[in-house]
């Protein structure tokens, strides 16, 4: 147990910060901890959580994906056309939405791998293209998502918020097994040392393509879940999510230099970020002071992770 905590120190810190913030939030909430309040909270958290998962896959291979928000916007607009109508139509629609996200990611990956251009730059450009396409689909917000489906995905299941169930499924059903596959390990290897990965006989191109495709896929999932929450399509949602997804993964202990961190951490980081924002609701902080407080808490949470280095007794340690 102690060993586990030491080797996953970053995730553990993120988890503790999250618990503290959530307790404060529930403590200040007039309604307190209840399924309703937890459901509202979890829905928001999961959207950014999925976006952070998308960012995680780019970051773990030492990249950055500036198109996460744009992929969400595009898939959200697609969803607003496909998620209403017959049950089979909706089922197909959900698959199509996620596939569209994966396709965006694959496109990023292809340009990054075969064009040999830095991910951050590629995705800066493709984000513009994705948003353009989203705007073609939805010049102004509109469309609809089947309300029953939306309710099923965004309310609760036996008193447990569906969003938390989905989070658990993502972790237990996908991430933990995935981490034990060659692909899962390959992502870390590539991000930690491309040279070593290559010399170990790993197909680094394929892994990088896979990483960005997964990033796109999770971007699509984020867009899909966003569609359930908002039941509509909006091309203008990109801006906030991209930068927040980066902040989220860092808060969750994922290192931007690649090779370190986990999907669990990314999720925790996203939940932290959204909980900070939720704290404002009943904090009693004057409305015009809220953005400042939000910024201060964010900076504080980030600095907690950073303060670690002040303890380093060997000055070279901070450079690794």
């Amino acid at each position: 147990m102690l060993d586990y905590m030491r080797s996953n120190r970053r995730e553990v810190i993120a988890g503790l910060v999250l618990i503290a913030l959530l307790a404060t939030y529930l403590g200040t909430h007039p309604r307190g901890a209840s399924t309703y309040v937890m459901t509202i909270w979890a829905n928001q958290c999961l959207i950014l959580g999925l976006a952070a998962c998308a960012q995680f896959f780019a970051v773990v291979v030492r990249g950055i994906d500036l198109s996460v928000g744009a992929v969400m916007a595009l898939t959200n607009c697609i969803a607003s056309y496909l998620l209403d109508g017959s049950a089979s139509g909706i089922a197909f629609g959900m698959v199509a939405v996620v596939a569209a996200g994966a396709l965006c990611g694959l496109l990023n990956g292809v340009i990054i791998v075969f064009g040999r251009i830095q991910p951050i730059v590629v995705t800066l450009a493709t984000a513009s293209v994705f948003i353009g396409i989203a705007l073609l689909l939805r010049p102004t917000p509109g469309g609809a998502v089947n309300y029953d489906l939306a309710d099923a995905m965004t309310l609760d299941f036996l008193g447990i918020p569906t969003a938390l169930v989905i989070t658990a499924v993502a972790v237990v059903g996908f991430w933990l097994p995935f981490r034990r596959t060659g692909l899962g390990l390959g992502l870390y290897a590539l991000g930690s040392s491309e040279q070593a990965a290559f010399q170990s006989g790993i197909d680094t191109r394929f892994i990088r393509l896979a990483a960005f495709t997964l990033a796109g896929l999770f971007g699509g999932l984020a867009g899909l879940f966003y569609s359930f929450v908002t039941t509509t399509g909006d091309a203008g949602i990109a801006a906030g999510f991209t930068l927040n997804s980066i902040a989220a993964v860092v808060l969750g202990g994922v290192l931007l230099r690649g090779g370190v961190g986990s999907l669990v951490g990314a999720l925790a980081g996203a939940f932290i970020l959204k909980t900070i924002a939720s704290l404002m609701f009943f904090s009693g902080i004057p409305s015009l002071a809220q953005p400042l407080f939000e910024g201060l808490i964010l900076a504080g949470a980030i600095a907690i992770g950073g303060a670690d280095v002040l303890r380093a007794r060997n000055k070279l340690e901070v450079y690794s």
Binding site: G132, P291, G295, A299, G306, L316
Partner: protein, 314 residues
């Protein structure tokens, strides 16, 4: 000393020429001196921001606080001028620059001392500045105004050349000199490639980071002052539209986002290119959706062209 002018950094200038020629097919006025000098004037705002960003990117970092440093500097300088007090008006520009430098120092504290990735720390600083601006506007709201100096810097011209452009180029030349001819410039790029080895060579790498982020903050602040002079006022969010174009300008100018490689010459081309591209898409009245798509595709094409050329050489 290796030349700052590489083929990579020339690329955006070719791009500018192509854009002008292509644009003139639809609008012959694009070739007029009036339109072109206007682009120089406007490119200066982006250019100044990109100048600061280049320095930080050469270090291997990134500064996402540009938007609200810009806005904050604009609010501060116009507020000082707005007091009507001649002394306060006179120090408006220096005060804004000092503000930029201060924020740069705060950025550097997170990055150099706490070793927080610049990409998130500067983002957090950006949110705090937004918060401060909101609080400030809401609480006591001084009448704001740009000083004649600010207006002249943004909109005046000397011998037909916009002063904003001349200021930008002058600053690029000074900083270009610093980057290529001084130890500081060498340290900067060395850190961009390998901070640890630079530190072990007896360089006080934190100081370099502090100075670099401070310079970047001052560039953003100067951009804010100029933009306030241009619009004759300051307003919330005035910096938001500049963040991504700033990064795009630096990268198009051939500076590696990984640090170490690149320079200000290319950034000048990058800022001109992005400004012109935006302008031409605007005057062509292309639908917003298509503007986004074309913008992205052209940036990608430029980048692919750069790497393909390198591939062909290797």
């Amino acid at each position: 000393m290796r030349s700052a002018i590489t083929l990579d950094s020339l690329m955006p200038f070719f791009g500018v020429v192509v854009l002008i020629l292509a644009g003139s097919v639809f609008f012959p006025q694009v070739l007029s001196a009036g339109y072109l000098t206007q682009q120089l004037q406007i490119a200066a705002f982006l250019g100044l921001l990109a100048t600061g960003a280049t320095i930080v990117i050469l270090l291997g970092h990134i500064d996402l606080s540009v938007p609200w440093v810009l806005t904050g500097a604009a609010i501060l300088s116009t507020a000082l001028v707005g007091t009507g007090n001649p002394v306060l008006s006179a120090i408006a520009v220096p005060a804004a620059l000092a503000f930029g430098a201060l924020i740069g120092v705060i950025n550097a504290m997170g990055v150099a001392i706490l070793r927080i990735p610049s990409m998130v720390w500067t983002l957090a600083v950006n949110s705090m500045l937004l918060g401060l601006a909101v609080l400030n506007t809401g609480g006591f709201n001084p009448k704001g105004q740009s000083s004649p100096l600010m207006v002249a810097m943004a909109s005046g011209d000397i011998l037909g050349l916009p002063i904003s452009f001349l200021v930008w180029i002058a600053i690029s030349l000074i900083l270009g000199y610093v980057l290529t001819r001084t130890p500081f410039g060498r340290y900067l790029r060395s850190i961009g490639f390998n901070e640890k080895a630079t530190f072990l060579s007896g360089v006080s790498t934190p100081s370099v980071l502090f100075v670099a982020f401070a310079i970047a903050g001052m560039c953003s602040a100067l951009g804010g002052v100029m933009l306030a002079g241009y619009a004759n006022q300051a307003y919330q969010s005035m910096g938001d539209p500049f963040l991504l174009p700033t990064i795009a300008a630096v990268v198009i100018g051939g500076t590696s986002i990984l640090g170490g490689r690149g320079g200000l010459f290319g950034t000048i081309g990058g800022a001109l290119f992005i400004t012109l591209l935006t302008s031409i898409l605007s005057v062509m009245q292309i639908d917003d959706a298509w503007r986004n798509i074309i913008f992205g595709v052209i940036i990608l094409a430029m980048l692919l062209f750069q790497t393909l050329r390198k591939g062909a050489v290797a």
